[in-house]
């Protein structure tokens, strides 16, 4: 993830120590100053995200890393970044909760916090990863999405993936790096929150001649606070539209043998690894099983699930929580398939055997 962040051009990190995300801080404290970047350990997670937003406004790609309790503290400034349209990336390594919970055990219980943790109506981009290579690639994707759509992106992994060691060979060239679009008009013509067709206005950095106002208050197209319904409505609509009209690009998933699958396992993070194994075992037993691996958790990959519904009448959603994403699967499948959850909240991984047993139970 660190390599991905540096490759994507990240040059600022602010964070606060927390298991199981501390390794990212430690490595970046060594590597960022080597590339003329900045690492700072702040007094808490609230301050960390504030510093990240400030650095991004000054024009530097920025990030932080945390886990459940720290993520809770960051929700306030996460909302600020959404309304003020400030890009950055947050790594969140999920551990068992609520509260201090299980600091060293894996979990997937922050899927809904990542979607709705901060108050108010807002869009969210949340990605996940299940291998070390995906951590690298999804980190670059996260930075690309955040810069392109002018919004924070959460890369939501779990303790297993956060502490995983795998050998990967990373290629320098293969992935495109996207930077924010800066204004090209003269400063007096610049409209920082203009309602452009793409929904994503150009972003000026502090100190480059475009003096504008950034606020957490609902604002007009020039960035100044407004209480006019004819300005609030269009602003809120654009805030959602800038994500929703790019769903096809944002929503990523991988299909494994789903073409003829009658039973499909929908999984993400470390559970996707077990799901793939279970799918292979099921195929060996003659069950037409498939696997849909989610790389984008939010906005929820409705079209990918709909594709699977053409053949699969049984969907199994194993998750290390009480069913946060299986409800989403139920919602979008609208009765076209039976959706079975497989929930585990005892601090251990879901094994291929447990998924296999669930397949045998329901098919």
């Amino acid at each position: 993830m660190v390599e991905g962040a540096l490759r994507a051009g990240c040059r600022f990190f602010a964070g606060y120590p927390i298991t199981p995300a501390t390794e990212i801080s430690e490595i970046l404290s060594v590597k960022l100053p080597q590339v003329a970047g900045t690492f700072i350990q702040m007094e808490d997670e609230i301050a960390s995200l504030g510093a990240v937003i400030g650095a991004s406004l000054a024009g530097v790609k920025s990030m932080t890393a945390t886990s459940g309790p720290g993520f809770s503290l960051m929700q306030e400034n996460l909302g600020f970044a959404i309304i003020a349209e400030v890009p950055f990336v947050m790594f969140v390594a999920m551990r068992g909760g609520p509260s201090t919970g299980l600091p060293t055990f894996p979990s997937q219980s922050d899927v809904m916090q990542a979607r709705w943790g901060t108050h108010g109506d807002h869009p969210a981009i949340v990605l996940s990863a299940s291998t070390v290579r995906e951590c690298y690639e999804m980190t670059i994707k996260s930075f690309n999405f955040s810069e392109k759509f002018r919004t924070p992106v959460v890369l939501l992994i779990d303790e297993v993936v956060a502490h995983m060691r795998e050998k990967v060979i990373l290629s320098e060239e293969e992935m495109e790096i996207i930077d924010r679009v800066k204004p090209t008009v003269p400063p007096e013509w610049y409209i920082p929150y203009e309602d452009v067709p793409s929904g994503i206005p150009a972003m000026a950095n502090f100190g480059e001649g475009y003096r504008y106002h950034v606020t957490g208050l609902t604002h007009d197209i020039r960035g100044f606070p407004t209480s006019r319904p004819d300005e609030i409505g269009p602003f809120m609509t654009r805030l959602h539209r800038k994500i929703s009209q790019h769903f096809a690009e944002i929503q990523m998933a991988e299909f494994f043998q789903t073409e003829d699958a009658e039973v499909t396992i929908i999984a993400y993070g470390c559970v996707a690894r077990s799901a793939k194994r279970a799918m292979i075992q099921a195929r060996e037993k003659g069950i037409k099983a498939g696997h849909l691996k989610l790389l984008t958790l939010w906005p929820f990959v409705r079209s990918a699930v709909e594709k699977i519904l053409k053949t699969s009448k049984i969907l199994i959603v194993p998750e290390m929580n009480m069913g946060q994403l299986s409800r989403e699967v139920k919602r979008v499948s609208r009765g076209a398939a039976k959706v079975y959850a497989l929930n585990k909240v005892d601090g251990t991984m879901i094994t291929p055997e447990e998924i296999m047993n669930r397949i045998l139970e329901v098919s």
């Binding site: 040059r11 600022f12 602010a14 060594v30 590597k31 100053p33 080597q34 003329a36 900045t38 700072i40 702040m42 007094e43 808490d44 609230i46 301050a47 960390s48 995200l49 504030g50 510093a51 990240v52 937003i53 400030g54 650095a55 991004s56 406004l57 000054a58 024009g59 530097v60 920025s62 306030e76 400034n77 600020f80 502090f206 100190g207 480059e208 001649g209 003096r211 504008y212 106002h213 950034v214 606020t215 957490g216 208050l217 020039r222 100044f224 606070p225």
Partner: protein, 280 residues
């Protein structure tokens, strides 16, 4: 054109966001005037100034001024400012806070920014009350005074913001009042020129909330109180603590040298580069 009109045209977003939200008689305008005059005198360019604020009456200040302006979440202004300054050290970062911002919800950020010696200038408007939300007590509401949430009397001891900054390690600490406008000009100017964490506490009146609830009179009468109760630092040193009990000590409380965070970090970068080169 009168000097003041020139400044208004140069620095205020006069064609955009006026009239302002503050009550007639409020002290914030005097503080804003002092800030603009100080910036003009030290000669910072408008593009290089980033004005950061928190929430409340003081939080609205950046809207009116033609700089890079950032209106953050409550109490967090210093954290955003830290990010801006470290990402682009060439920028002049000024943080406007109220007493609630600085020493209630943002108290932790305040002492740590001072301790780190981040090169930003903080200006704290201390009016002893939460004005915008309707006059609730703040950490600087004096013992025994009334507010919307302490109608029987405040039973907590008040924070002394400047003394807190001194203890936390700020390299420049000054306190003024909105009555002593000339002093405020010079304090802010000194703070702007000081490398490291500088802070100016501005004692102001909120006649609308604090004054009304405690029957302290009009804005003018409250400013007269500031005149009558202010004691210069030098004179205060000759007085006994009993005599200083209801006084406000004004002037420069601290002006010292300590390593500035960004200069120290530059050294870290060089060491990191050497270490990285050795590895290869």
């Amino acid at each position: 054109m009168a000097e003041v009109t020139k400044l208004i045209h140069k620095y205020l977003r006069h064609d955009k966001k006026f009239p302002h939200v503050w009550c007639p008689g409020c002290g914030i305008g005097i503080m804003l005037g002092a800030l603009i005059r100080a910036i003009d005198r030290v000669g910072f360019g408008k593009d290089e100034v980033v004005l950061v604020s928190g929430i409340g009456c003081s939080g609205r200040l950046p809207v009116y001024v033609d700089f890079n302006t950032l209106h953050t979440t409550h109490g967090r202004a210093l954290t955003f400012a830290t990010g801006v300054k470290l990402a682009k050290p060439g920028l002049k970062v000024i943080v406007i806070m109220g007493d609630g911002d600085a020493v209630a919800i943002g108290g932790n950020h305040f002492i740590h920014a001072a301790r780190r010696n981040i090169d930003v200038t903080s200006i704290i408007l201390n009016n002893s009350i939460y004005g915008m939300t309707g006059g609730q007590s703040s950490p600087t509401t004096p013992y025994g005074m009334r507010s919307s949430t302490t109608i029987y009397s405040s039973i907590e001891q008040a924070f002394k913001i400047s003394e807190l900054a001194v203890t936390a390690g700020a390299v420049f600490v000054g306190r003024g009042t909105v009555y002593h406008a000339k002093l405020l000009d010079s304090l802010i100017e000194k703070a702007l020129l000081k490398p490291g964490f500088s802070m100016v506490e501005v004692i102001a009146h909120c006649h609308t909330q604090y004054g009304r609830q405690n029957r302290l009179g009009t804005a003018v009468e409250m400013m007269e109180w500031q005149r009558d109760h202010a004691v210069e630092v030098k004179k205060a040193a000759t007085l006994k603590s009993e005599e200083l009990k209801d006084k406000v000590v004004i002037g420069v409380l601290v002006d010292k040298e300590l390593p500035v965070y960004q200069d120290e970090y530059e050294k870290i970068r060089e060491r990191a580069k050497e270490a990285g080169a050795q590895k290869v």
